[in-house]
């Protein structure tokens, strides 16, 4: 460890079992993509539940989706897209070695994630208030069709798991802000920002499917 660290200051981030910075970054990225594969399958179980329940009760899904606010869903879609842009720009800024811009873009991403959660909070709060809740907690009576509680089970499971991912992303971005502030990154080493970026884009990607599947049922 001490040997490799003493090679040169700019290479101090390279662990002793990697030949060079390039190989280390590529290995991290490979690991990250395999993690993203498990994330796709993690959400996949719920997408599977969605497909089965919607195919089984298409009319009820149509009726139940009317309880969702399309404007809130569409706003949140745009918020997450913009946050994806700022995340990508944070990586780009550090590729150019610009710490100030990196911090600005990371804070922007964090703020947009916060806006997403605030909007989600208002949606959830309304549903809790009127009893549009999963399974046995369902006490609403205004949805035509059979088994409407199932729609809200799937809705809360999928948007809830997604929301947990948004919170995890905010924690990761907070960690990046702290490390950027501490000058841990430079134009040669920004792998944690890049990996968090990949994760954040996947969170955006999942919402891109959740939005039409829940809010735009025709």
């Amino acid at each position: 460890m001490a040997d490799s660290a003493s090679h040169s200051h700019s290479m101090s981030h390279v662990a002793h079992h990697f030949a060079d910075s390039e190989q280390q970054a590529e290995s991290s990225k490979m690991g990250m993509w395999i993690f993203l594969l498990t994330e796709v399958l993690f959400f996949g179980g719920l997408f599977c539940a969605y497909v089965i329940f919607r195919a089984w009760k298409p009319d009820m899904f149509y009726e139940a989706h009317k309880t969702l606010s399309m404007s809130m869903g569409a706003t949140n879609t745009v918020v997450l897209i913009v946050s994806s842009v700022t995340m990508a720009l944070a990586i780009r800024a550090m590729q150019l070695g610009d710490k100030i811009k990196t911090l600005a873009y990371l804070w922007s991403t964090m703020a947009l994630a916060g806006v997403f959660l605030v909007i989600k909070y208002f949606e959830y709060a309304h549903k809790f208030h009127v009893g549009q809740l999963p399974g046995q907690f369902y006490t609403y009576t205004g949805v035509e069709g059979t088994n409407p509680h199932v729609f809200f089970s799937v809705y809360f499971a999928m948007t809830g798991l997604h929301g947990i991912h948004v919170i995890a992303g905010m924690i990761a971005i907070g960690w990046l802000i702290w490390r950027t502030q501490k000058n841990h990154f430079n134009a040669n080493y920004y792998t944690p920002i890049e990996m968090t970026g990949l994760y954040w884009h996947l969170v955006d990607l999942i919402w891109i499917f959740l939005f039409p599947l829940f809010y735009l049922i025709h």
Binding site: I81, R92, T139, P212, H218
Partner: protein
């Protein structure tokens, strides 16, 4: 791919303008999918919505996640995840809809308080009458009356399940 003269992997810096264009395209596609919602394509609305979602996902993956320029092994891993997801969903769906036992007799409307009490009485262990949201203002005097009402609706639930069975036995009779 014609412009992939960039040899380096890790230090590939994309122009600022590209991120703006891709972000703008994603927002336009979001507006498009909302607009399409108001047009009736019959059963194809879901298809159009999914095509737009896949287009958006492709933009995110290719440009924001750099798969267009990165080592193709990452693209292979990502595509593998989609293939696995497809197999997972397809096989489960085929199996599920092949088992009538799972779907029959589970068609419960919940459009009034009696429906709600009935389903809750059947599904919640130790259910003691309407509680929680939506039950405000019912007062304290729902002892015997509630039990009666609940039994009533539970009977009608059983009856509707029975009706399903009856119609099947009629089919058998032919």
């Amino acid at each position: 791919m014609s412009d992939s003269s960039h040899g380096e992997h890790h230090h590939h810096i994309l122009p600022f303008r590209l991120y703006m264009i891709v972000g703008g395209a994603l927002i336009l596609l979001t507006l498009l999918t909302v607009g399409i919602f108001y047009v009736d394509f019959g059963p194809f609305n879901i298809v159009v919505a999914m095509v737009i979602a896949i287009a958006k996902a492709s933009l995110v993956v290719l440009y924001f996640m750099h798969l267009r320029w990165d080592n193709k092994i990452y693209a292979a891993i990502f595509i593998l995840s989609i293939v696995m997801l497809g197999a997972f969903v397809a096989l489960t769906a085929v199996d599920f809809f092949d088992r009538e036992i799972v779907t029959e007799g589970h068609n419960i409307p919940i459009t009034n308080q009696a429906d709600l009490d009935a389903i809750r009485a059947v599904r919640i262990p130790d259910y003691e009458g309407p509680t929680g949201y939506g039950a405000d203002g019912h007062g304290d005097d729902h002892g015997a009356m509630d039990t009666a009402a609940t039994t009533d609706v539970a009977d009608s639930l059983a009856a509707s399940d029975g009706a399903d069975t009856d119609s099947e036995s009629v089919d058998d009779g032919h």
